[in-house]
């Protein structure tokens, strides 16, 4: 499958700075979207975006196109950085984003139907109980922690953890089938 992002990352690994600029031009809006959604603050998202591309350049040689698409790799770097920053925030601050969690879900559902991979994902989410599917989404898309999820669903943290672990294994069974 054609993967122009993967090709650009490979050229970055060969220290091609023009390719690095093209990569930024073509992918920064997506990564900014990821960082804004998770960090919720533009100034912090912009600061994180610089750090993400710094890491992309320094780690480009570790990208293996056999293991996944270029954009998936970039988003993983952006999400990991955002989660590190969220977890490093004082605990009280992490509850603030809770209100915004719900609104993206229905739109997300319709857009998920568009692609094969995403459709499969949507079908597998259907096999989970709705509140658990929502917990998985909230964690992945908004960077919610167990602490946030337990508070949001009004259950003890350990219960949340048991739920989520079971749901994830069930999700895997469906996605890998």
């Amino acid at each position: 499958m054609e993967d122009p992002v993967a090709q650009l990352i490979a050229r970055c690994a060969a220290a091609d700075r023009a390719a690095f600029r093209t990569l930024y031009r073509d992918t920064s809006a997506k990564l900014m979207g990821v960082l804004l959604r998770m960090l919720k603050e533009r100034a912090e998202a912009e600061d994180a975006l610089q750090e993400v591309y710094t890491r992309v350049w320094l780690r480009a040689a570790r990208f293996d196109p056999a293991k996944g698409r270029g954009m998936t790799w970039l988003i993983a770097i952006a999400r990991n950085l955002a989660i590190d920053r969220l977890r490093a925030r004082p605990e009280a601050a992490s509850d603030e984003g809770l209100d915004t969690v719900q609104d993206a879900t229905p739109r997300a559902e319709t857009r998920l139907i568009a692609k094969g991979e995403a459709r499969r994902m949507a079908d597998c989410f259907e096999t989970l109980e709705p509140d658990r599917a929502q917990a998985v989404r909230g964690a992945y898309l908004e960077g919610m922690s167990y602490h946030d999820l337990a508070a949001r669903h009004g259950v003890p943290l350990n219960t949340m953890r048991t739920w989520l672990r079971r749901s994830l294994l069930k999700l895997k069974e469906c996605l890998d089938a």
């Binding site: 750090e51 977890r87 991979e117 949507a122 996605l175």
Partner: protein
């Protein structure tokens, strides 16, 4: 769905999934990251989960990003020498031309001679009981401990580079083997620092533990 306890395999897989989802707290996350580094089987599980969850990536809407490339490049690529100025009259042009020719000759000689490690900085305590030597060699920075011992078990020395006015950027963990990083020659004024971090390195991408050594580029002994 049964409530039987997870098998060890299932527990590993659930942990990999929790790491990818990002629900772990800071300490658990640092532990999972350390495990990714030392356990290829676990790292593969994490990779599989990243691929599995990629179906949700379409949900991230694009958002216009400002052009931060100049700042990113300033962090990553230390300043190239300024181009020769034009329009200072014939004599300057001639001089510049001659100087350029001389530089080209030197450059040719330099490329013919085998490359040698160039000292960049020395990071050492005042009593020299702990010392790291940083050299530049063949497009890489090489960092070797020349005196002292690594951090105590459960901790690690992490190396950072700091451009003037910018945040520290991690260059990697200093363990028993010399650290080799693809990196250009850092210009004078950039600062190296070593901090003590939990095993696996700083969980935040910025120094979290005490900074024990610093040196400015050009400070060597």
């Amino acid at each position: 769905m049964t409530d039987a306890p997870l098998t060890p395999e299932e527990a590993d897989d659930a942990l990999a999934a929790e790491y990818v989802l990002g629900v772990l707290d800071l300490a658990e996350r640092a532990e999972a990251e350390a495990r990714i580094r030392r356990d290829p089987g676990f790292a593969a599980r994490v990779g599989d989960w990243e691929a599995r969850m990629a179906g949700l990536n379409d949900d991230f809407a694009e958002a216009p990003a400002p052009d931060l490339m100049p700042k990113i490049e300033a962090r990553l690529f230390p300043q190239a020498p300024a181009p020769a100025r034009q329009g200072r009259g014939f004599s300057f042009g001639w001089f510049a031309g001659a100087a350029l020719a001389a530089v080209l000759v030197l450059a040719t000689v330099a490329t013919l001679a085998p490359p040698r490690p160039e000292p960049v900085a020395t990071l050492a305590t005042a009593d020299r009981r702990l010392s790291y030597q940083i050299t530049h060699f063949g497009g890489t920075l090489q960092v070797a401990r020349v005196a002292g011992v690594p951090a105590v078990p459960g901790q690690v020395h992490q190396l950072w580079i700091i451009a003037p006015g910018a945040s520290p950027v991690s260059l990697g963990l200093l363990e028993d083997k010399p650290l080799v990083i693809d990196y250009p020659v850092p210009p004078p004024g950039f600062i190296f620092a070593v901090s003590i971090e939990p095993e696996g390195g700083s969980p935040t991408g910025l120094p979290t533990g005490p900074v024990i050594l610093t040196a400015t580029v050009g400070e060597t002994t």
